[in-house]
Symmetry: none
Amino acid sequence: MENKPKEVARRPETAEEKMRYGKSEAILRAAAKVFARSGYFNAKVSEVAKTAGVADGTVYLYFKNKDDLLTSIFNWAMEEFIASARKEMAEAADPREKLRRFAQLHFKLFERERDIAIVFQIELRHSTKFMEQFSTTYLAEYLEILRDIIEEGQLTGIFRKQLNSKVVAKFLFGVMDEMATNWVLSHKNHSLTAMVEPVLDIFFNGVMESNA
Amino acid sequence: MENKPKEVARRPETAEEKMRYGKSEAILRAAAKVFARSGYFNAKVSEVAKTAGVADGTVYLYFKNKDDLLTSIFNWAMEEFIASARKEMAEAADPREKLRRFAQLHFKLFERERDIAIVFQIELRHSTKFMEQFSTTYLAEYLEILRDIIEEGQLTGIFRKQLNSKVVAKFLFGVMDEMATNWVLSHKNHSLTAMVEPVLDIFFNGVMESNA
Amino acid sequence: MENKPKEVARRPETAEEKMRYGKSEAILRAAAKVFARSGYFNAKVSEVAKTAGVADGTVYLYFKNKDDLLTSIFNWAMEEFIASARKEMAEAADPREKLRRFAQLHFKLFERERDIAIVFQIELRHSTKFMEQFSTTYLAEYLEILRDIIEEGQLTGIFRKQLNSKVVAKFLFGVMDEMATNWVLSHKNHSLTAMVEPVLDIFFNGVMESNA
Amino acid sequence: MENKPKEVARRPETAEEKMRYGKSEAILRAAAKVFARSGYFNAKVSEVAKTAGVADGTVYLYFKNKDDLLTSIFNWAMEEFIASARKEMAEAADPREKLRRFAQLHFKLFERERDIAIVFQIELRHSTKFMEQFSTTYLAEYLEILRDIIEEGQLTGIFRKQLNSKVVAKFLFGVMDEMATNWVLSHKNHSLTAMVEPVLDIFFNGVMESNA
DNA sequence: TATGAATGAGTTTTCATTCAT
DNA sequence: TATGAATGAAAACTCATTCAT
């Protein structure tokens, strides 16, 4: 994320805009940190402002309201993730390799940005309203990518054709989501990416044809 | 649930206590309904009281505070679930059958009590604090049951011995949790229990020895 | 006003309600006092609460919001005034006597309740929105009463028939309104009711010599 | 503004001043429009700036603060009005004609500048503080002019000598003020100047038949 | 036990004003 | 002069909780 500022919605052009952009991102990062620490509802906007090093009112120059902060963290991270995922998927040939890279990407992002991981795994789930919005936008796209890979694997004969690719995609997402939540809640600070291999091992043995 | 009052924490003995118990459960059910509808933070205690048909102050005769309502819904449902799960597990012989019954039990409870399902899948996740507490108590017990069955299956030779039973248990929980969340957020009202077979199909193909 | 609590919208029946009613009126009187002193926009709800001897939140148990306080002061006083005006008008026979009593009633109310007078003459005028609402409800009724008396005088031959009764009513209201505003803003504390005679003298006789 | 009051009403001399003058007046007109539309307290300085086509900060180069905008609108219009009134009064001989021209002038100004009329009739009344200041300065001068004409009429024998000229002046102001407020609040867009004749008719002749 | 009126702490948000450029 | 991004004080309102009845 650090090195990919251009992947956020608005692109700064002038030096002046760059500064505005920097403030916007600083506030978003501060919000992620504060939300991760206190939980969205208990977090105070003034705390976000203080963490970002700006005045309370400045937050409202960049974001409509507190809720918009949460939504923006989500959009910001998700857009970036989907973009890199699509790019990386294009580089791998084997569907198994694609899934492996995809999971790696997901988990590496979380390990690099623990605050974002916490917000994603815990805070964003706080309301049906948000969850529904989430489900119908980015989650749908996330599942779409997985589904495409699985169907590709079914065509090339390495995954069982009779399986419903949609169910399989949800299945894999569920497993990965659970690993992520588990990692976020655990204080043992074990590696999350280390889970990719054992998880995919089980998964592949389940979806592969026995002669694949 | 109505007819299984004994499965809630305290058992009423006298007629007087029975009445208290009834009110306590009424409040808990009202809380689940209101939390499911509005989300925990937006839900008002007065709304819970009104839904339960009692005065605002009465809620505080049975529960310490608003947070206690959430915790109590969780404890109430979880104790009941774990108890029936352990009982039912004892009745089945085959590990695969055990897992099948376990998943059925989990999903049937949710289908019967949608408010509880919403609270479990959405509202309870609202804070790391709660999630951590959840992880170290009932989730641990839930995973324990799964792990026991899996290890039993590894002993009897139908599940691959080299797999880490703890990872497998989390894997299975993650898949089921994802199916549940998906069902809660979906408005299509598809059957949740119908997911048991396809999910376990994938799972078993993954964890079984090829000669099992 | 003190001795006519029943003329306010809600009538208290039980002893319990009477207490609630008392609090409602206390808050309304406190609001009138604070609004009169600081002006509506500069007045703080917390100041109203303190003046009424209740907690801030209690204000919102009786009134929807700050604006509702202003509107309620107006409705409360206006309903009372219109009612006593109609009653008193019925008791007088001569149209000139009716107008005299009407003006007396209006000015006496203001002298007895200076806070209310200030709110009426100054604070209620702060927005077109309110003024429009005011114009189409109680002011209309106020002008209606005046107009009825004037038309009665035109029928009995003491007022010039060719005059537009609506214009005459507005004319008289304007004069009285100006006297009231003048009195409110003056610190000399002259008598307002003392203005009734000279004003009606001009109004009745006109400013021109009959031989001019 | 404190030390540059003359730059509002007066005419610009240098090109530089012309620009300043133009901007100052543009801001004042914008303020009148915005205050008329939203009410003083709800109006935003940024909205005034936007309407005037200048940056927010520029408003503060010409006016001390938001309150100064209101006061300046008032001073600006009032100075202009008093000046033209005095000039026009000098041109008429008959006291009745003088009053007629005076009323015409007042109402024509309002018809030409509706925003100003709204600010005068509604927004300026929002606080006792302002009303008191208003009463002791321009209103006093306004009433002075009226009083002079009335006393002139009393000397020439067309107005009744025994009337208190101060009361008569207030009386007439009250009537005209009411007509103006009525016109401002009415959406029927009737002519305000058309009210001059009927109002002065009543004023001059009185409402009673001479034989009543 | 049950009630529900009263409490008052606490937080988001707005917007007049400033000041570095 | 002109700008407009940044400031931060200030206040309406909510609602969990209490407690006298």
